[in-house]
């Protein structure tokens, strides 16, 4: 059983095929009134192609929104990797600072 999006998609596809048939039928029409009648019919079918297209776009956008969440998770992992490197840098900096303080303490002790 097709899901809702697939049903809308099939409906738009059906309308597109109907529209093409009407369009092709114009090739054999030489009477202006008959041609205008076909074009009016095409206007109505076209309007429904746009309506179903709009519904389909909205339904597919809702699906897209769900899929995008996974990209956010990947971004969090990248940010965690960046933070890890920054932490290593901070650790190295803190160790340098610590050793500097040790040197100062030793120098101070020598003065006593």
């Amino acid at each position: 059983m097709p899901n809702q999006n697939e049903s809308i998609r099939e409906l738009q596809g059906l309308l597109v095929r109907q529209f093409k048939k009407l369009h092709d039928s114009l090739d054999d029409v030489e009477d202006a009134d008959a041609a205008q009648a076909i074009v009016r019919e095409m206007q109505e079918v076209n309007h429904r192609i746009a309506l179903t297209g709009s519904l389909l776009f909205a339904a597919q956008a809702a699906e897209l929104d769900d899929k995008v969440a996974a990209i956010g998770k990947a971004t969090k992992k990248v940010n965690a990797a960046i933070a890890k490197i920054q932490n290593i840098q901070a650790l190295l900096g803190a160790m340098s600072e610590f050793l500097g303080l040790v040197d100062e303490a030793i120098d101070f002790a020598k003065l006593l």
Binding site: L56, F57, K77, L92
Partner: protein, 296 residues
């Protein structure tokens, strides 16, 4: 005594290198530039889609207004937006999410991030030597700097490996998002054609056929030529509009392919993609005015 201290500082520096190795993990290289290029391509395709979708909505609105001339009454559904604002916001959020993801990857692979660790490693090496009262840096003046370069290199390699791991893991999701976006524009799977492409194509075909019917009631050769000119021009506009949509779809598909290539360690090869997107965006921005149907 001095010799013992030198030996100790050498050992401490060795431990420092080992610590870096353990902290940063395995080594594999992933260059930053292709990721930065991919990020630029994502932003460019987003711009391309904004241009194309604006043109699509203008087209649909004009057609709705022309159709209203044949109606007895009008209602809200006669003027439903072709691509509604909420869906377009979701579309933009998807691109924003891809741009944020690629921007973070680019930061991770930025040589400056690794250089920061290199500088800190060099400073710590110098501190260790100073504290141990060693003259090792006098004997080997380039040692601290070499240590810094090693720290930077190890960090860069580890960042590259991590970026590739994350890209490989995220690749199915990235591809799913981009494949969904490509389907929203045009989908001909299962023998059924659907998407924005079909809406736009039908709209322009209708416009051309409206002109075609005028031809049947036109008598003079000059007037016929005038109708034929407008008919041919409308067909050209239809082809330009549908090409814009197929170009956008191709750009999105290529973004997915470039990500997949990078995820398996192959070159992303984004330069051609970006050049193509920029060319198309400039072309379609120029066409936007022409594509707008004339008001009746």
């Amino acid at each position: 005594m001095l010799s013992t201290l030198s030996h100790r500082s050498g050992r401490l520096i060795g431990i420092l290198i080992l610590l870096l190795l353990l902290a940063l993990g395995g080594c594999a290289s992933t260059p930053q530039k292709p990721i930065a290029d991919w990020h630029d391509a994502v932003v460019a395709v987003q711009g391309q889609s904004t241009t194309v979708f604006r043109s699509t909505n203008d087209l649909i609105r004009e057609t709705q207004i022309r159709r209203a001339g044949t109606l007895k009454t009008i209602k809200e559904s006669d003027f439903q937006p072709g691509l509604d604002a909420e869906s377009l916001a979701i579309w933009d959020r998807a691109f924003d999410s891809l741009a944020t993801y690629s921007s973070a990857l680019s930061t991770l692979l930025n040589p400056e991030l690794a250089a920061g660790v290199g500088t800190s490693t060099q400073q710590l090496g110098e501190s260790i030597v100073t504290t141990s009262k060693s003259d090792i840096l006098t004997k080997r003046p380039g040692l601290a700097s070499a240590l810094g370069k090693l720290g930077a290199k190890l960090t860069s390699l580890a960042a590259g490996a991590k970026a590739r791991d994350i890209m490989a893991e995220a690749d199915p999701a990235v591809n799913e998002v981009l494949a969904q976006m490509a389907r929203m524009i045009y989908d001909d799977s299962g023998g059924t054609s659907s998407g924005v492409y079909e809406t736009v194509r039908a709209d322009w075909t209708l416009r051309a056929d409206e002109i075609r019917t005028e031809f049947l009631s036109t008598q003079s050769p000059d007037a016929k030529r005038d109708v034929a000119t407008r008919y041919a021009t409308t067909l050209e506009k239809r082809d330009a509009a549908t090409s814009a949509l197929l170009g956008l779809r191709a750009s999105i598909t290529e973004l997915a392919a470039a990500h997949r290539r990078a995820a398996v360690g192959a070159p992303m090869d984004t330069a051609a993609l970006i050049a193509s997107i920029r060319e198309q965006t400039a072309f379609f921005k120029g066409l936007l005015t022409d594509l707008k149907p004339a008001k009746n």
